[in-house]
């Protein structure tokens, strides 16, 4: 019978069926960071249980680290950040888990370094105490976010108790138009299917527009699955995937790589496999997308107006009113022209080399508008080095952007990079929740990195296509 990648990976990783009816699922790759792991290690210690397969867990530090070059000396000025770092270093060392620390040259956001080091491979189950773990599904893995108790469960048993999700194929047909990026595609999918449309589902992204994407673009699409409610999002492995993985530090080498490719191919969804649901989106109809509200589904095309709450389904109206009030926007107001105070390019959604290139293309030879604080935060040390080798840092600095060190930074404002008061930020990150960027009243407009760079230069939301020569 024709099977999906989800079916095949699920079966290959099933240890047994549990008394509760759930599956005991083996986790092939476990990633940890400093925020959701210390309590898990503590629980393990209290239970007197050892880490079962330390070689299948990798750690990095990303959420709390300062990104200003002169603030990365240990001990960090922020005592809580220092304490979390000390715990991570000690826990990983004691349990034999490799840590990509600041001095490793490989540190970065967990969802950026997994793929770039080749740790993330097709056919795997991948879990991390972080909801954007769906990112890794871009290579054809089953990757999902978990809570801290489940981090403990994996450390102790390399397994999780899971219920198999349903599957929806999300097809992006046709081709994208110039100035429309993977970020616009993922934001538009969420706009169409809703922020809770994916609850209970794994999303298989497919269709010509997806197949043509580079691996970095695919990572952006899968990253935001959870914002549409889907805990899993994946793309079937193909030649793009194999070309991307070849030569990466943790990818198999030589003849082993070729044997891996044939297994990876065999794990892809079979022709004729059936889905619980299929959704179709016309790629050509997507324009640059900007969010105007307090969840990632509240968005419009850049040339459109903030909709009137009367135009939305009745059950969504209270949230729409709440969003308009929080944002201080009016229904019917065009989104273009909205003044911004901060511009942020970075995060696990859009902190990769291709994202920085897209932003630099807009920044080159232009200047950040007066009064706008503009930050470029590479997703990893490797991304930073690659960008510097191309001179992108100089392009940004000449234009008036700050060039930072790798980390999560203003995606969630757990370090020093925060919005102040009611500032509005144009952000390439993934969440516009109230208070997300570090100020309880701060406001976030999500968009592609090129759109962020354009907003930084114009001092307001602007259609990036006007700036693309």
């Amino acid at each position: 019978m024709a099977e999906t990648l989800l079916d095949k990976i699920w079966r290959a990783h099933t240890v047994r069926t549990l008394p509760s009816g759930q599956t005991q699922l083996l986790i092939g790759l476990h990633l940890v960071h400093e925020v959701t792991s210390p309590q898990a290690y503590q629980m393990l210690k209290e239970a007197g249980v050892r880490v079962r397969m330390p070689e299948r867990t990798f750690a990095t530090i990303d959420h709390i680290i300062p990104t200003a070059a002169d603030r990365q000396q240990r001990p960090f000025a922020d005592e809580l950040a220092e304490e979390m770092t000390v715990h991570l270093v000690r826990n990983t060392k004691e349990s034999g888990v490799p840590l990509f620390d600041l001095d490793s040259g490989r540190q970065g956001i967990v969802h950026v370094i997994g793929p770039e080091l080749g740790l993330t491979q097709p056919g795997m189950t991948i879990a991390c105490g972080d909801s954007h773990t769906s990112t890794h599904g871009a290579v054809g893995a089953l990757a999902f976010g978990i809570g801290t108790t489940q981090v403990r469960d994996i450390l102790a048993t390399q397994c999780l108790a899971m219920a198999k999700p349903r599957i929806r194929q999300v097809r992006v047909e046709g081709s994208l138009t110039p100035g429309v990026y993977a970020k616009d595609v993922t934001l538009w999918i969420i706009h169409v299917l809703g922020v809770k449309g994916g609850v209970g589902y794994a999303y298989e992204y497919a269709g010509p527009a997806i197949e043509r994407m580079t691996m970095e673009e695919r990572l952006t699409v899968c990253n935001m699955s959870i914002e549409g409610g889907a805990r899993f999002g994946y793309i079937n492995p193909d030649q793009t995937t194999f070309d991307y993985l070849r030569g990466r530090p943790y990818a198999p080498e030589g003849a082993a790589f070729d044997r891996a490719v044939s297994w990876w191919r065999s794990m892809a969804t079979d022709a004729g496999a059936s889905f619980d649901d299929v959704a179709r989106i016309d790629g050509a109809s997507i324009q640059p997308v900007v969010t105007w509200g307090i969840n990632p589904g509240q968005s419009v095309g850049v040339s459109d107006r903030i909709p009137d709450p009367r135009e939305v389904p009745e059950e969504d109206r209270p949230t729409w009113h709440e969003a308009l009030q929080f944002m201080g926007f009016r229904a019917g107001q065009p989104i273009a022209g909205t003044k911004v105070d901060v511009a942020f390019v970075g995060s696990c959604t859009n902190g990769r080399l291709s994202d920085l290139r897209a932003a630099a293309e807009i920044a080159r030879g232009r200047k950040v508008a007066r009064g706008v604080r503009a930050l470029i935060v590479p997703g990893s040390q490797q991304v930073a080095r690659a960008a510097e080798a191309e001179g992108l840092h100089a392009v940004f600095q000449e234009a008036g952007f700050q060039w930072r060190k790798a980390g999560c930074s203003m995606c969630l404002g757990m370090n020093e990079d925060k919005l102040q008061g009611r500032e509005i930020s144009a952000s390439s990150s993934n969440r516009n929740f109230k208070g997300r960027q570090g100020s309880p009243t701060g406001r976030t407009l999500l968009m592609s990195p090129a759109m962020v760079a354009a907003a930084a230069i114009a001092g307001a939301v602007i259609d990036v296509r006007e700036m693309l020569r």
């Binding site: 047994r16 309590q39 795997m124 809770k196 790589f257 209270p318 757990m414």
Partner: protein, 193 residues
């Protein structure tokens, strides 16, 4: 075991309430889960003094009534724990963010799903009768309040874990013993390509 939970309710209207709102990221700067209860809905309770979690009539409540997609967003387990530390022992909502739902179950907090019209009724009636207890019946999949019985849903796996007291997955998973290593060795990426 969590067969039934009886207690007063606290109504929290609104859809898509994310875990950043339940517990803002700056309160996650800790290596323990201590002291989370006082920061639950920290920012909102400061901004809105009449937030349900501030109102005197809902202090001591243990059953939270919420709307659609409650607990969406970040996987932070700090969110259910902050609610639990405040006093929440069970939740009835229209639907849940999936990771939040799992985190609640892992901490013995039953999350029941009710029809939107029933959730609206509960939000309204709990508001009107803050002193009356609700019965959240996990075993029979229903919620009882003011003489009315409302049908509710919960996935079978979670229900089993809650009613049998086996929501601590670790000990159950450990029982698989060597089967774990056998499954691992059968995977080409672990055995070696």
């Amino acid at each position: 075991m969590r067969r039934q939970i009886v207690g007063r309710g606290v109504p929290l209207p609104g859809n898509d309430i994310d875990t950043d709102r339940i517990i803002p990221a700056r309160y996650l700067k800790s290596v323990t889960f201590e002291g989370l209860g006082e920061h639950v809905f920290g920012d909102e309770r400061k901004a809105v003094p009449e937030h349900p979690f501030n109102r005197p009539q809902f202090q001591g409540a243990s059953i939270l009534i919420a709307g659609q997609n409650f607990g969406c967003g970040s996987s932070r387990e700090h969110a259910p724990l902050a609610l639990q530390h405040w006093g929440v022992a069970g939740i009835v909502a229209g639907s849940y963010g999936e990771i939040f739902f799992g985190n609640c179950t892992a901490n013995g907090i039953p999350c029941l799903v009710a029809e939107p019209s029933d959730v609206d009724w509960l939000l309204r009636e709990v508001e009107r009768h803050p002193g009356q207890a609700l019965e959240l019946d996990v075993e029979r999949r229903e919620v009882r309040f003011m003489g009315r019985t409302i049908p509710a849903r919960i996935p079978e796996g979670a229900r089993n874990q809650l009613v049998t007291g086996s929501w601590n997955a670790m000990s159950v998973l450990l029982d698989a013993g060597e089967a774990i290593e056998r499954t691992a060795r059968a995977l080409p990426y672990i055995a070696g390509y």
